[in-house]
């Protein structure tokens, strides 16, 4: 087991950042950690990295207790923090050489530079790198000892689409090499595209856990069916199987339905029995985003959480920024 948490809680003063989190992550694959600001994603990741001490519950990462065996654990995990934190006056080569010296074994710096597409920038000062290049260097710093488990906290935040795609390729490449990658993100489509498994946190609790397909299938969201017909059309058979007509102008119709399959079957029956011809049809199924929005708080509540978080470093509740580290000494 790469990661196991049982009844994990973490409180900062009176704020409960994590509330009874149970998580089992087997080796291999990409696991996305989703949730609104304030859901506890960063706290969870930092507990796994040994940067925060849990208030109660059990945590095991690669067989180590992150609190008591942090230094030994860090030989086996690679971490990328929310912000890049790279010494500006050093080159990527020098940064990687420095970080390589902290580990019992490391891969050649040149190999890592190639893996994160920074070979051409190896001798440039970090301050001259673009945001995407700095993020890739951050990933390279996590890869320098070729760890089995990688934990990335919002690796693609603030990047343009091209830079994000480059990082996606690096993450997918890591998966192909048999690594386990746990990463937090606010981009739902990113999680849908990359992840073998998605865990959704809300208010410090795991509210959903499964493959993107499983989660979408369990969505209570409705499919939307767009139909264009030629000729007199009576939608009664569709309504009879639960479809709701949202729009009907001329030959254009729009229905929503929980059971889209029943509506399609009913539409087939309509086409067979009524003097109409189907000229066009489109269907939009619920997405992971629909499911996500069902599972997390409404945006206004999330916004409040976001404001609360933004006052503290590492996006922890601002009111308890001092409290949160008391026990980290």
């Amino acid at each position: 087991m790469s990661i196991r948490t049982q009844s994990l809680t973490k409180t900062y003063g009176t704020t409960e950042a994590l509330h009874g989190v149970d998580l089992d992550i087997e080796p291999g694959g990409i696991i996305g950690l989703l949730g609104p600001n304030g859901a506890g994603k960063t706290t969870l990741v930092e507990v796994l990295e040994g940067l925060r001490t849990p208030t109660s519950g059990e945590v095991s990462v690669m067989g180590f207790d992150p609190t008591r065996e942090g230094i030994a654990l860090r030989q086996h995990i690679g971490a990328q923090l929310q912000a890049t934190h790279i010494p500006d006056d050093l080159t990527p080569f020098e940064v990687l050489r420095l970080f390589a010296s902290f580990y019992e074994r490391s891969v050649p710096v040149e190999d890592v530079l190639e893996r994160v597409n920074l070979k051409g920038k190896a001798r440039e000062l970090a301050r001259n790198l673009s945001g995407g290049q700095k993020q890739r260097l951050g990933i390279g710093m996590a890869l320098i000892h070729d760890p089995a488990l990688l934990i990335f906290d919002e690796p693609t935040a603030g990047l343009d689409p091209a830079a994000r795609r480059q990082l996606h390729e690096i993450i997918l490449n890591l998966k192909e090499r048999g690594r386990t990658i746990l990463f937090t993100t606010h981009y739902i489509e990113e999680a849908e595209k990359l992840c073998d498994r998605v865990v959704i946190l809300n208010r410090g609790q795991v509210v959903a856990d499964g493959t993107p397909l499983e989660l979408v299938r369990s969505s209570e969201g409705q499919s939307t069916i767009f139909i264009d017909v030629d000729g007199p059309f009576d939608p009664a058979p569709l309504l009879a199987v639960g479809a709701e007509q949202q729009e009907g102008r001329g030959s254009h119709y729009r229905f929503t339905a929980s059971d889209s399959t029943a509506v399609i079957v009913a539409l087939g029956e309509v086409l067979r029995t009524q003097p109409v011809t189907l000229t066009d049809m489109n269907m939009r199924r619920p997405t992971l985003e629909d499911f996500y929005l069902e599972m997390v708080d409404d945006p206004e509540a999330a916004e409040l959480d976001s404001e609360r978080e933004s006052g503290a470093t590492s996006r922890e509740p601002a009111a308890s920024a001092a409290e949160m580290c008391k026990e980290e000494r």
Partner: protein, 272 residues
Amino acid sequence: MIAIRGTLELSRAYLLKTIRSPSALIWTLLFPQVWLILFALIFRNLPGGMSARMPGLFTITAFSGAFFGVAYSLVTEREQGILRRIRVTPATATMVVIGNAVRSLVTVAASLFMQGFIARLALDVDFGPAVWRVAVVLTFGVWAFVPLGLIMGSAAKDMRSAPAIGNLIFFPMVFMSGAALPLQMLPGWLQGFGRMLPTTYLVQALEGVMVRGEGLSQQGLPLAVMLTSGFIAFGLNSLLFRWESTQPLGAKRIGTALAGLMLLYVIVVLVT
């Protein structure tokens, strides 16, 4: 093995950062020469000339370089999150502290060498019968000062508060130790206070080897005080070191650290 390799690489990285930072170079190498010019203008024509004031100037250079250099570096790295990033590797606080200390030793040695070289050539300063004794005494001084900078670097929350705290320590260290002004110019009670400052002992030892031409064996007390002070301060640093500015120090830790350091000097004052 990892600890040694990591510490050496950290020292190397810190030195590279210093070399590549124009402001660090100005502060480290150029600024001490401004002090040299000022001292020459003020003291050159007084009895003993610059040779008599050189121990004080060396003390100021060693203290400002070791103290501020290491403190500001630590605060900046904490503010920028670089220490936090290092924290998620197997690197330890000791490695970071020693890496910083080594960088400081090298840069202070460079600035002292440059200052001494110019003073000898341009101002005909006399370093006493053996320059190596001066180097040994200065090493003891830097050993005592670097951990004080590390403590300050841990105590200051950010770069807004660091200069204020730093100056609060710097000026008494310089003005009450006989480094900036001859100790005889100070009232008696202030001279007594000066005996509780590590800078006083560096001035004393340097005056011994440079001005009075004494050997190292005659500097036993000041050297012992600086050596012990360095050990205690390094030990206290482990109490105060923090990776992130959100980690509170706690009054108990600060109190223990200050009490530990004060105790040494109170004992020295009582014994002498």
